[in-house]
Point group: C2
Chain length 221, copies 2
């Protein structure tokens, strides 16, 4: 019984900060997307290309979560976008309290969208709300087409599935059934938006940009 | 303070089971390797090919850890090797107690090596000893060459690094500096053995098989 209670206390502290973050973002009229994936699926490359391609049109900032190193924040700063690095020092996910501190350091006034790049992990980040408008799960075709079935939680909870590295499909070097992934993801989550992209070659990125624009254009509270 | 104590109690229960597992394996003179990686790096494909290629020579069984589904155990059973599936129901790593139960279900008498395929996760499984002889970290070249620096824990703790999907390097479809990964991994872990392989094409697998043979041939307690 004691263990259960401790668990509930931790979750509820996270929830309190998630609510604070959500209130801050609504008040400032910013959208916030929480990117979740395995290590190496291409989250940072997707963000760097998105920021560069939409530079003249949408202002974006990034909160980078990593076990350690500033590598990802530096890659984002190279695009001239502001990036705050959080090092979790071993923890497998970002907490809402960490994101709260980072939101206070970002120049929110000058931004339209805040991206959170979570720690590379398909499991742990799923359970921690950060106050974001939605989760975006990234799956690289190199990871295999059985991932929605094997890690259903994040596919069930995400607004968008970005299927990255689709340039490997035309090179015929991986076994990956795009239709199977689409069907399995939609079985878990009827309304999930799915965009096959390659952040390396640019293939499919326009559809993803269109979705980002649509979200900004929608009436908000 | 209370949180710290609870944490210590959980770790120590895991440690107790890890010691039990280790004693059982030593008594039965079996070697046990714990495979850890991100989702989709190719752990199951490596195991299936290893079991098939060494079928006449070394008898292997597998303990499969997954959040849910029996997909991986079924892929192993298709090679005629025994496989026990553990579903962690959301947990991001295997515990030594779960492995203990699975060891009791495997036909240990007829095996030389027990492989544990941990839950796809580069972070959490690192912290939980299972009583294995060593950890084997798998990194696919599609995941990028910055992973040892960004997720140092598992590279520091592993006996072997399998760099999988190297067939993608010759296809020239990923940016991955093999020498950088070798140098970064050895900086974290001077004695780590590194084998670049492709479980898909078979490239490099003989060196890995040689290492498995050497370990079986070494004098044991």
């Amino acid at each position: 019984m004691e263990k259960v209670n401790v668990g509930q206390r931790i979750l509820s502290a996270n929830e309190q900060y998630a609510i604070k973050n959500s209130q801050l973002l609504i008040k400032q009229r910013k959208l916030c997307w929480n990117l979740i994936s395995s290590p190496g699926s291409g989250k940072t490359t997707i963000l760097a290309r998105t920021i560069t391609d939409l530079n003249a049109e949408i202002k974006m900032g990034v909160i980078e979560g990593d076990i350690q190193t500033e590598i990802d924040a530096e890659r984002i700063r190279a695009t001239n976008a502001p990036a705050i690095q959080i090092n979790t020092e071993g923890a497998c996910h970002l907490s809402a309290a960490q994101v709260h501190k980072a939101l206070e350091q970002l120049p929110l006034d000058s931004l339209d969208i805040v991206f959170i790049e979570n720690v590379g992990n398909l499991v742990c980040p799923t359970a921690f709300e950060l106050g974001e408008n939605g989760k975006i799960v990234v799956l690289s075709v190199a990871e295999g087409d059985d991932k929605p079935v094997k890690y259903p939680g994040i596919f069930a909870k995400s607004k968008v599935l970005l299927i990255n590295k689709v340039d490997l499909l035309s090179a015929n070097v991986v076994d990956f059934d795009l239709d199977r992934v689409r069907a399995d993801a939609r079985r878990l989550n009827k309304s999930i938006e799915i965009f096959p992209i390659s952040a390396r070659t640019g293939e499919g990125m326009q559809a993803w940009y269109g979705w980002l624009r649509d979200q900004l254009a929608q009436p908000r509270l």
